[in-house]
């Protein structure tokens, strides 16, 4: 059991690291890969967080997560990236350095928040919920502070991952159908956003979201 908890903790640490990398790196390709790693970690976490009974649907689920978040999404995104000849995130509203400096503080706040809540966490470590919050915050932060449409999609994905970690941490049995539905939605979302980015690129021949500000008032 201890071993389990340690394993969980390691995965959690890795999650935090991925988040930090996302905040720090400006190369879109890197970001995509990092998000892929995050997906894979989630797949692992799904199994680890399940105390004891290793149900068949659980295996199925983690497999689904693994494929979707770890393989298909990155694939889709990389392909989109290829279409729009852009490699780097332009200068964001909040610099990379600043975000990296800020992130530990945010993490502290998240840990404190997690301690506030009386969540029915199973065997999982007390770090899970805070990291979930942290991931969510990072996702929102990416969407708010970055300018490239693609980065915002990544931000959305990170947000979802965070929520997913939270979902996995609280020991409720979501029926597999719902889980699959949710995954499907995430998939469709990424797909749609990909197409949307493609359209944007075609119409505007750039994908800087902050330059999409014709509609106002």
């Amino acid at each position: 059991m201890i071993f389990m908890t340690n394993l969980v903790d390691t995965v959690i640490i890795f999650l935090i690291l991925t988040n930090l990398m996302l905040l720090g790196s400006s190369r879109l390709r890197t970001c995509i890969l990092v998000v892929a790693i995050q997906g894979i970690l989630l797949g692992i976490l799904a199994i680890l967080l399940e105390d004891g009974s290793l149900g068949i649907h659980l295996i199925l689920l983690s497999a689904a997560i693994f494929c979707l978040k770890g393989i298909i999404f990155p694939f889709l995104l990389i392909r989109t990236l290829r279409d729009l000849n852009v490699q780097h995130e332009v200068e964001p509203f909040v610099g990379y350095g600043t975000s990296l400096v800020l992130s530990p503080l945010v993490l502290v706040v998240c840990i404190w928040l997690g301690s506030q809540l009386s969540l029915p966490i199973g065997a999982a470590s007390s770090l899970v919920v805070p990291v979930a919050f942290f991931t969510i915050t990072c996702g929102l932060f990416l969407i708010v502070s970055r300018k490239k449409a693609l980065t915002q999609v990544l931000g959305y994905l990170v947000l979802e991952n965070g929520i997913y970690v939270f979902g996995a941490s609280i020991a409720t049995i979501q029926p597999v159908l719902v889980e699959l539905g949710i995954l499907l939605d995430a998939f469709v979302a990424v797909f749609v956003m990909g197409i949307a980015i493609y359209h944007i690129n075609r119409e505007f021949d750039h994908t800087d979201v902050d330059r999409l500000n014709k509609l106002k008032g």
């Binding site: 029926p175 956003m193 359209h199 509609l215």
Partner: protein, 503 residues
């Protein structure tokens, strides 16, 4: 036969419909088929609702699909809005079709997405599992996104992108909230038959929910679904999406999608009211966001030049009014539900007229639109009627529902809300009236466009909607009263046995 089947039928028929759109061979056929199919489904919806009202609730496959008065009422609203919009949409694209802009491909895409969004919204209404409800809502967002840019141009794509991102983020937060609620159930995990969070069961054990978690969960839910419902300050996507979408889509957006989101919040409200220590939580939130929405809407209606954006901000205002009503006890909820119906009909009509007038004038800039009544008596008159109704002129039904809300406000003596509401509505009245007078009256500009004779369906839509609004303003059928009353009770979290006096 088991009435539960009906739920399956109304859920799956739209999917079939979207399948059929795939195999049609001409844009005209696609449009006609959407109209026909939606009509059939709409009738089935209403039949289902009727069954629900006769027998208190119906459910299927171990209560995964479930429908009670509240959802049935919204089902009727949805059926109405979709039928009207489809009927209108049948003729809306004629010009593009003839010019060949609106190709078979885009027609197919339109039809498929149209049916798909119908299916998604139905899923929201019929699913008892809060997770599935969330899935339905997210699907709605994704499906409707491309309806916005049926005609792909810079503005519409921008609108779509904003809609997509803002709503997705919001709904993700709503999912977070759902998880919190799920987490709050740990006290009675054992007692619920182990398949997820069914609203009915939560309702049963609501007293046992963990107060803190439920509270946080509700906050997330409110912000999340509130984003989709277009409550200020999360409404930012709304004017962009509404103004860029083709009119039938805008009508569905404003006419039902917003209400669907609000419906989700209602479901949770009926739970949170029963959680010890959180009785007033929902009230505070509703009143706060309601008043805020009205003020913001007033600010933007005052200086608006785009007709469709004007209507969009009116949606913000009216959703705010509905929210205020929901925050004001049984009578208020009754009024709010009534207002939902009125607003849906009226706003759809508004968008219909705006769309056609936009086609006539070639733009939605109200500074260039004058003398609509002379150019096209039907659509000009319709716009005048719908806007007069929107700003609360008696004897239209919206006046009645707003009157009830004021009554509720006085009854629960929430004075400040009342003051803000009345002041805001007066400002909006003045501003919107100015706009509509300048659009409808006066001498029209010289246009090469020859307004074509308005066809039977067009006339039908206008006359029907205005007629319904008029009749409901002057005479409320007892059946409708009963329905609203039962729905209000569900929302209020009390079973129909304990009576609430709204007479």
């Amino acid at each position: 036969m088991n009435p539960g089947i009906l739920l399956w039928i109304i859920l799956l028929l739209p999917v079939v419909g979207s399948g059929i759109c795939q195999i049609l061979r001409s844009p005209k056929n696609v449009m006609n088929f959407t109209c026909f199919g939606v009509a059939v489904i709409g009738i089935l919806d209403i039949v289902t609702a009727g069954v629900v009202f006769s027998s208190n609730t119906i459910s299927s496959c171990s209560e995964w699909l479930y429908m009670d008065a509240l959802s049935a009422y919204h089902l009727i609203v949805m059926a109405l809005v979709f039928c009207m919009s489809s009927l209108y949409g049948m003729r809306y694209f004629d010009k593009e079709i003839n010019e060949g802009i609106f190709t078979l491909k885009s027609a197919k895409r339109y039809g498929i997405l149209w049916f798909a969004s119908l299916a998604a919204m139905t899923l929201i209404l019929v699913s008892n599992n809060l997770g599935m409800m969330w899935v339905g809502m997210e699907t709605t967002t994704l499906v409707t996104a491309f309806l916005i840019c049926t005609r792909a141009n810079k503005a519409s794509i921008e609108g779509m992108w904003k809609y997509l991102i803002v709503c997705s983020v919001g709904i993700a937060l709503a999912f977070m909230g759902t998880l919190f609620i799920a987490a709050a159930t740990y006290k009675f995990q054992g007692s619920i038959s182990g398949n997820g969070v069914l609203w009915t069961q939560l309702k049963m054990h609501a007293g046992l929910l963990d107060a803190k978690l439920a509270q946080i969960g509700f906050l997330f839910i409110f912000v999340g679904y509130g984003t989709k419902a277009g409550l200020a300050p999360m409404h930012t996507w709304l004017p962009d999406a509404h103004s860029q979408a083709p009119s039938p889509v805008s009508a569905v957006f404003s006419g039902f999608m917003l209400n669907a989101a609000l419906y989700c919040i209602m479901r949770y409200t009926s739970l949170i009211k029963l959680v010890p220590g959180n009785e007033n939580l929902s009230r505070d939130l509703f009143l706060f966001f309601g008043t805020l929405s009205i003020v913001v809407a007033a600010a933007f209606i005052l200086s608006q030049h785009d007709l469709k954006r004007l209507l969009a901000y009116h949606s913000v205002e009216h959703l705010g009014i509905i929210a205020i009503g929901l925050g004001m006890g049984p009578l208020g909820i009754f009024a709010a539900l009534f207002h939902t119906l009125n607003h849906s009909i009226c706003k759809s009509l508004g968008f219909f007229c705006a769309g056609r007038l936009g086609q006539i004038y070639g733009s939605y800039d109200m500074r260039g639109m004058t003398g609509a009544l002379r150019l096209s008596p039907l659509w000009g008159g319709g716009l005048l009627g719908s806007l007069l109704a929107l700003i609360g002129i008696a004897p239209f039904a919206l006046f009645m529902s707003e009157l009830l809300i004021v009554k509720a406000a006085i009854a629960t003596n929430s004075i400040w809300v009342l003051v803000v509401f009345l002041a805001g509505s007066c400002i909006i009245f003045a501003a919107a009236l100015k706009h509509v007078i300048n659009v409808v009256y006066g001498t029209p500009p010289v246009l090469d466009f020859k307004p074509r004779r308005s066809s039977i369906p067009d006339t039908g839509i206008v006359v029907f909607s205005l007629g319904v609004l008029l009749v409901l303003g002057l005479w409320m059928p007892n059946s409708l009263h009963e329905i609203l009353y039962r729905a209000a009770n569900i929302m209020e979290g009390i079973d129909a046995a304990t009576t609430v006096c709204v007479k």
